[in-house]
């Protein structure tokens, strides 16, 4: 209930329009449902009224017919506009909400994305929100409209013949209860279908992206088995749905048949017994009412049945909106005009999952303009360091500072605008090569793009592509070699010209050594007034570093210049010697 209230808060800005819609609904119900009364009058006063003269009867018939058609035109016209208006209100609400959800997702911390499948997030921004909109327009407004229709019809029916109405209304609660029951079952089946469909889709998505791997490892058969299991599951949910669905319309048809039967029986008996309370006109009018009566009835049962499902969606969306942003922007962000660029880690402790420390009591600092290299065994926590500087995660203990200001005091966007990242996994957007380098940042011209590409030695292969810089690349840059992707991503970072810092996480690991050295020389020039942090496994990459950190299991085991480290007889020297005296096979 609280959820529903909160949702209705989103419709508050539109309350004037909503009230207008309600007025229109009332008008439609009163006008359209008046039509069968005209039928009754036609029947009784024109067709069956043998006592008055023929000309008069025909005259009245024409008048009533005209009245009938005008009311019908106006009533249905208003109904059309009411439908449009309601749809528009629904769209406005969903527009606001969808934007809010998307923004919220982008604000979430990285750890959230580690745990949440992209498919799940997609469901939130698409189908869950659509169900919300459905709930507002169809659920709330629709229920009101149905109730008005139903009450309108029942009112008119009682007005023209209380006794006949009573006869018809008696079995209704039973019918409604049964419809409701069917609907609840139907909704459950629907929910199962959706769940199973999305589970099938998740599997499908993973299998399709990893199909080459599946084929290489001969897993086709077992992939088929998994798929078949979910497919069968889905089918059985559908069978369930068919089972209940095939009861739904026959039930309404049955209700209609029983009502007609009741009209014929009760009305017939009354007329036979000479009662004047029932005329043939009433008879005919009732037959018309019965037809209109069951639509809102069925749809009410429908809505009552879907209430639970809508609530589940609403809950999921609001849960997402309410989720704390663990890496939040500060209330009063520091925004110094000039940042020199001293980066320091002060006794930093960090774990991705509780107490499973990946960084243990790490302290170091880099002066502006310096190049810091981080080396260490795989899984030692090198990439984690870069994650902490850009606040992809926040430290648990200690602090990361820039010019002595805790990074948590910066706004994340201010911070990241000053940093330039090259991540370990190159991510290529679907789009042209040029857009991938410029990221459509205003102020980056084509010649800047080409320059950046030349700097990293990517120009040649880009030119060789079918349409050069305008070649549109597939998802994740399929068709480029890994080294080429790394060069592209490197060019992107250069083109953005970050003012403060470069963070290169194994940026050239899959690039040949000659190109790598070329890039380093170019970077050397660009880096001179910026701080940079370089993670690499190859000593050739770090020979220019002013300072080298040696990490092991999240701890700093040594730091200094190459010469100092060589003098220490520690891990670094061991590493170095390994390189020089690799065992002869």
């Amino acid at each position: 209930m609280k959820m529903a209230k909160r949702l209705l808060a989103y419709s508050l800005p539109y309350w004037r329009w909503l009230s207008l819609a309600l007025v229109m609904i009332a008008f439609t119900s009163l006008s359209i449902n008046y039509l069968p009364i005209l039928i009754q009058r036609v029947t009784d006063q024109c067709l069956m009224n043998t006592s008055s003269p023929v000309a008069e009867r025909i005259d009245l018939l024409m008048k009533l017919s005209l009245l009938y058609i005008s009311i019908a035109a106006i009533g249905h016209g208003v109904r059309y506009f009411q439908g449009l208006l309601t749809a528009w209100i629904g769209q406005k609400i969903i527009y606001d909400l969808r934007l809010e959800v998307f923004r919220k997702v982008l604000r979430m911390h990285q750890a959230y994305f580690d745990q949440t499948a992209v498919g799940t997030l997609m469901t939130r921004v698409t189908s869950d929100i659509e169900r919300l909109q459905h709930f507002v327009t169809e659920g709330v407004v629709g229920t009101i409209a149905d109730l008005f229709m139903l009450l309108g019809i029942m009112g008119y029916m009682i007005y023209i013949s209380p006794s006949l109405s009573l006869a018809i209304f008696i079995p209704l609660p039973l019918l409604f209860a049964f419809l409701l029951y069917i609907n609840v079952k139907l909704r459950n089946a629907n929910r199962d279908i959706r769940d199973r469909q999305s589970r099938l889709n998740a599997l499908l998505q993973e299998d399709l992206t990893g199909m080459t791997t599946i084929q290489l490892f001969n897993r086709e058969a077992s992939a088929m088995v998994d798929f078949d299991q979910r497919n069968t599951h889905l089918r059985s949910a559908y069978f369930d749905e068919v089972h209940w669905f095939s009861l739904y319309f026959p039930t309404i048809e049955g209700g209609q048949a029983i009502s007609i039967l009741l009209i014929l029986a009760v009305g017939g008996m009354l007329i036979l017994n000479g009662s004047t309370a029932i005329t043939l006109g009433i008879f005919v009018a009732f037959l018309a009412y019965i037809r209109d009566f069951f639509r809102p009835l069925g749809s009410l049962a429908d809505k009552a049945g879907s209430f639970q499902i809508a609530m589940a969606s609403i809950e999921r969306v609001f849960n997402l909106l309410d989720r704390p942003e663990e890496v939040a922007d500060p209330a009063e962000p520091a925004n110094p005009d000039h940042i020199a660029g001293t980066i320091a880690f002060n006794n930093v402790w960090f774990a991705y999952t509780e107490e499973n420390w990946v960084i243990k009591d790490l302290s170091f600092s880099v002066e502006p303009g310096q190049v810091l290299a981080v080396v260490g065994a795989t899984g030692a926590g090198k990439s984690t360091i870069t994650n902490l500087i850009g606040r992809f995660y926040d430290v648990q203990k200690g602090a990361v500072t820039i010019d002595g200001v805790d990074v948590r005091n910066f706004r994340k966007s201010d911070l990241n605008e000053r940093l330039g990242y090259v991540f370990q996994d190159p991510f290529i957007f679907a789009g042209s090569v040029a857009d991938n380098i410029s990221l459509q940042t205003p102020g980056i011209s084509r010649s800047d793009i080409v320059n950046a590409a030349r700097t990293v030695n990517a120009h040649a292969f880009i030119e060789a592509m079918p349409e050069g810089y305008d070649t549109v690349m597939n998802e994740r840059g399929e068709g480029l070699s890994l080294g080429q992707k790394q060069l592209l991503v490197m060019a992107r970072t250069l083109a953005q010209e970050p003012e403060l810092l470069f963070v290169l996480d194994e940026a050239t690991a899959s690039v040949d050594t000659a190109t790598e050295l070329l890039i380093q020389d170019a970077l050397g020039k660009m880096m001179c007034n910026r701080t940079s942090i370089v993670i690499a496994h190859r000593l050739s990459t770090i020979r220019h570093a002013d300072r080298i950190l040696v990490m092991r299991h999240g701890e700093l085991v040594d730091q200094g210049t190459h010469e100092e480290l060589m003098a220490h007889d520690g891990y670094y020297r061991h590493l170095y010697e390994l390189l020089l005296h690799a065992p002869e096979p």
Partner: protein, 592 residues
């Protein structure tokens, strides 16, 4: 010289949807029977109504006859309701069976298609075909069958009954309904156009969101959130606009139909009424006609609706059939699907291999002989074709000309499953699945046991890392393995490849994210494993390349140098330059 055409998309067999319908003949016949029964009864009931009303007007009815008529009404009504249930159940259930079979077949076929195909198709698009397109086909079958048969039956029988009852009024009913069906069809067409527009926009929005979420790191790293949000806002407004355009036609459907029906009602009442006043028609007959008017309304409207459903189903079927008819460019050339039993030799030969993709030449005249049990190291500049070369061995694609032989047999003559069964492949960008580590390592083995997984993890030097995870081998990875470090991901891929104990091991730049010390440890442990089998490995590092029995340098798709490490460092060329660049003694020692 033969040249094998790599792009064979010409359908060899014409796949018909009938294939899926024929097994369900019985259900289809059952549906027809149900339709006949319900339509018959529904046309008869208004006649009973007429008898009652006329009896009442003419005062010829007594309560006994009334009860009898109502009794018949009740009985027939009950039968109609029961049959009406089967009328829905049969075709709908059938349609879900077809949906199931079709989806299975498509998936099964997809598992046979080559890498080339997956590169050219967007995953999102394949997903759409597997879900919404197949759903549309299903609806076309289920609803099409149901509504189609019903509409035709209703049209035929209702015309006969109405003509027999009163030709004048039936002409009126027809002249009313014909334009209605026409207009309805037009509205539906407009609606469909807007629907399509909207659908395209929706998939644009979901592609955009999908990319934003999976590239979130890059977005945040470049502070692109604001720009992304603005773009999303734009897309979102588009959604509202397109939706409202659709609503403009969709919302008109019901009011329009209801109004048209009111029009029909009053016309019948007016024209029929005059005849009643004249005494030429009874009120009962008029009521009977009004009931027919009511009854025919839905089947007639459903005519346009199911026609549009069937049309959409057809379009979807074409899209789905495209998958089914697409043949893998990798089918075995010979009919020989039995692996040769005397297959002991796992030596690999490249004979004059060239590779073109989309008119660009990526490999030229590659000749290589890798005797069984030896190790070939491959190196060369970025983008020179190393990955393409090794993928030819596992037949991720076929060469444009020339051939690759294993044990003297062209690999195109081997069953694909057999070929892949003898290869352990660790790709440059490995795809891990979001399941447990254990599952990922044992991925290529039918029944992996703990020892095997432990052994494989140990060789790839993954064991220590795993011991550090709270859940050990039961650790569930994030999507694409994002919760592992880069080196851990690579080593998982190595373990996965060697866990198969393959005859041929292919390692494509798999140690690039691994530090020198671990690299040395892995190479040390891999050594005995590599000695037992034929190994190809790609690397940029001299420190690993020197383990190879032979090394080839690939530049621009050509082999420019080959020989052992010792031979190559003495030749001028790429390799010796690489060696100097990586042997930093001079510079470093000058500093110390």
């Amino acid at each position: 010289m033969f040249s094998c055409n790599r792009r064979r998309v010409i359908p060899t067999s014409d796949i018909k949807l009938n294939r899926y319908l024929i097994p369900h003949r019985k259900e289809i016949i059952g549906t027809v029977v149900c339709v006949l029964v319900t339509v018959g009864i529904n046309l008869y009931l208004p006649y009973l109504m007429r008898l009652v009303i006329d009896g009442l007007t003419e005062k010829t009815l007594d309560s006994a006859t009334l009860s009898k008529l109502l009794g018949i009404y009740l009985l027939l009504g009950a039968v109609a309701v029961v049959v009406s249930r089967f009328l829905r159940k049969l075709p709908l259930k059938l349609s879900h069976k077809v949906e199931y079979a079709l989806r299975s077949d498509v998936f099964d076929h997809l598992t046979k298609l080559d890498q080339e195909y997956y590169r050219s198709e967007r995953t999102g698009d394949l997903m759409t075909r597997m879900s919404s397109d197949i759903n549309l086909i299903r609806d076309a079958i289920g609803q099409g069958l149901l509504q189609g048969i019903r509409t035709i039956t209703v049209l035929v029988f209702a015309s006969i009954v109405m003509m027999l009852t009163d030709p004048g009024l039936s002409l009126l009913v027809y002249s009313l309904y014909l334009p209605m069906v026409g207009i309805f069809f037009l509205i539906l067409r407009v609606m469909r156009r807007h629907q399509k527009d909207l659908q395209e926009h929706v998939s644009e929005v979901s592609n955009f969101s999908q990319e934003s979420f999976s590239g979130i790191r890059t977005l945040k790293g470049f502070a692109l959130e604001r720009r992304r949000n603005a773009q999303f806002k734009e897309l979102n407004s588009g959604l509202v606009r397109k939706n409202m355009r659709l609503q403009a036609s969709r919302q008109s459907l019901w009011p329009f139909m209801a109004f048209w029906f009111s029009l029909g009602m009053i016309l019948i009442l007016n024209l029929g009424g005059r005849r009643i006043i004249d005494g030429g028609l009874t009120l009962g007959t008029l009521t009977q006609f009004i009931q027919y008017l009511l009854y025919m309304q839905w089947p007639l409207l459903a005519l346009s609706w199911s026609m549009s459903l069937i049309q959409r189903g057809k379009v979807s079927w074409v899209r789905v059939r495209e998958i089914l008819e697409r043949e893998s460019s990798l089918e075995s050339r010979s009919e020989n699907t039995e692996p040769k039993k005397d297959q002991g030799d796992a030596g690999i030969q490249f004979q004059n291999v060239s590779l073109n993709i989309q008119g660009r030449h990526f490999l030229h005249d590659i000749d290589l002989n890798i005797p069984e049990g030896t190790t070939l190291g491959i190196t060369g500049p970025t983008g020179s074709g190393k990955t393409l070369l090794v993928s030819l061995v596992a037949r991720l694609m076929d060469p444009t000309s020339g051939s690759v032989l294993i044990g003297g047999d062209d690999i195109r003559d081997m069953p694909l499953a057999h070929l892949r069964g003898i290869i352990g492949f660790a790709a440059q960008e490995p795809v891990l699945f979001s399941q447990t580590l254990e599952h990922n390592i044992g991925f290529g083995v039918a029944k992996p046991d703990k020892d095997l997984i432990g052994w494989a993890a140990d060789i790839a030097h993954l064991r220590d890392d795993v011991e550090g995870f709270p859940e050990r081998y039961q650790t569930v990875l994030g999507e694409r393995g994002v919760t592992l470090s880069g080196g851990q991901r690579q080593r998982t891929a190595i373990s996965r490849a060697i866990a198969r104990r393959p005859d041929i091991l292919i390692l494509d730049d798999v140690l690039s994210a691994v530090d020198t010390q671990t690299e040395a440890a892995i190479m040390g442990k891999l050594q005995p494993v590599m000695n037992d089998r034929t190994t190809l490995f790609v690397s940029h590092r001299i420190s690993t390349l020197r383990y190879a029995d032979e090394i080839v340098v690939i530049e621009n798709g050509r082999i420019t140098q080959r020989g052992t490490h010792d031979e190559l460092i003495r030749q001028p060329g790429y390799y010796s330059e690489l060696n100097t660049l990586q042997q930093l003694e001079e510079q470093l020692e000058a500093g110390s």
